[in-house]
Amino acid sequence: MWIYNPNTVTDTVKTAVETDSKQDTGWIMHHVLDARELDFTPFGVIHLPEIHLFGMDISITKHVVFMWIAMAILIFTFSRVARAYRKSLVPKGVTNFAELLIVFVRDEIARPTIGKGFEKFLPYLLTIFFFILTCNFLGLIPFGSTATGNISVTATLATISFVVIQIGGIWKNGFFGYFRGLLPHGIPFWLIPIMFVVELLGLFTKPFALAIRLFANMTAGHIVILALIGLIFILRTYVVVPVSISFALFIFLLEILVALIQAYIFTMLSSLFIGMAVHQEH
């Protein structure tokens, strides 16, 4: 039987904190976390401006910059795609690829999960899909940074999803109709207060899960890659280099897959929750 020994845990944590400050193992976190500068180490560092508004720190950080890069890429690409359609309805090149993804979001995500009236939510779903996808991939290029690996960003995106879900439900069923529809049919009346609290909590757990899932997936891969590379320096031997590199490469390939899958899952679940809020009958 395992006996909890508070002293051991305290010691471990203390040692960890001490060595952290002593040996500077925070370099992994340095790659994953947000920063106030863009770090192109061999070529230099760009310091970003600090902005304070009404006592709030709204400085432009690394992740903000990468979100803007994603935004620029998306606006550039899709305005070109839209212009290509004006010329001819037959797509080619980038337009073809963009159409593949757009039609995928429309026919595989929005239409089956939301059903009737899915067109209203399509711009939101397309935007969130391509935004997350681009942010995920920006973290995989050299000197890039994953904005979607930041809990603030994913929580905000999840909150926007939450708002869209609630607005969708209320728009379709009316304010009181929507909250009445949260309760399952045919439950005993004395269960209603409990069920209402449970269902209300359920509303909030959905976006919470969205935020945590995206954040954890995008952060974990990076940490594993950095840890595998770090193994070389911790063990101080060249023997682990092939192992580390091949494993890191494998994880990197996995990350490409994860970047796609997470964008899909975030969009898919948002769409599913919108569908559930809009059509409460089932």
């Binding site: 952290d20 976390l33 979100m67 159409e99 935007t127």
Partner: protein, 181 residues
């Protein structure tokens, strides 16, 4: 107490000077909201609306084309069937006409035959009556002739000197003459 202290220590151990992965940065939240809403509005106006419109336009175009092709196919089939029907009808008609004309020809043939038979019969009849008439005529002529001869003979007899022997000889001679005639 100890557990709570440890948990607290754990929770804040990462957030030293660099900040932990679970730190929430209000500025970043604000920028995310602004960026995302901006992106949503811009893309909705610039990209999604025209692209989705074009896609549905193209889909309806393809659907229309397919529908049109289908109706054209059906029309063609109908036309072919109609043509076939018309053709068979025309064939029937032609057959009927041929049959009719054959019948007509048959009838005509029979008629003509009948007529010609009748005609020939009549001709034979005519010929017969003609012969009869000629016969009659010849007979009459002969009769006249005989009478004539008889008269002539009588005359001769009367003119000659009649004796019995001479008479018999004469009569025989005239009779011979008569039968020779």
């Amino acid at each position: 107490m100890n557990i709570a202290a440890n948990l607290l220590l754990l929770a804040f151990s990462g957030s030293g000077k660099t900040g932990g992965p679970l730190d929430v940065n209000p500025g970043l939240i604000l920028w995310t909201v602004v960026t995302f809403i901006f992106l949503l509005l811009i893309l909705k106006k610039v990209a999604w609306k025209p692209i989705l419109n074009s896609l549905s336009e193209r889909e309806s175009f393809i659907k229309d084309s397919l529908d049109k092709a289908e109706t054209a196919r059906k029309e063609t089939e109908k036309l072919i069937a109609e043509n076939k029907f018309n053709l068979s009808k025309a064939e029937d008609e032609a057959q009927k006409i041929i049959e009719q004309s054959r019948e007509l020809a048959e009838k005509l043939k029979v008629n003509i035959l009948e007529e010609s038979k009748l005609q020939s019969k009549k001709m034979i009849e005519d010929a017969k009556s003609e012969i009869e008439r000629k016969n009659q005529e010849a007979f009459n002529k002969l009769k006249d002739h005989v009478a004539d001869i008889a008269i002539k003979a009588a005359e001769k007899i009367l003119r000659e000197d009649l004796d019995e022997q001479k008479q018999i000889k004469l009569v025989n001679k005239y009779l011979n003459e008569l039968s020779k005639n």
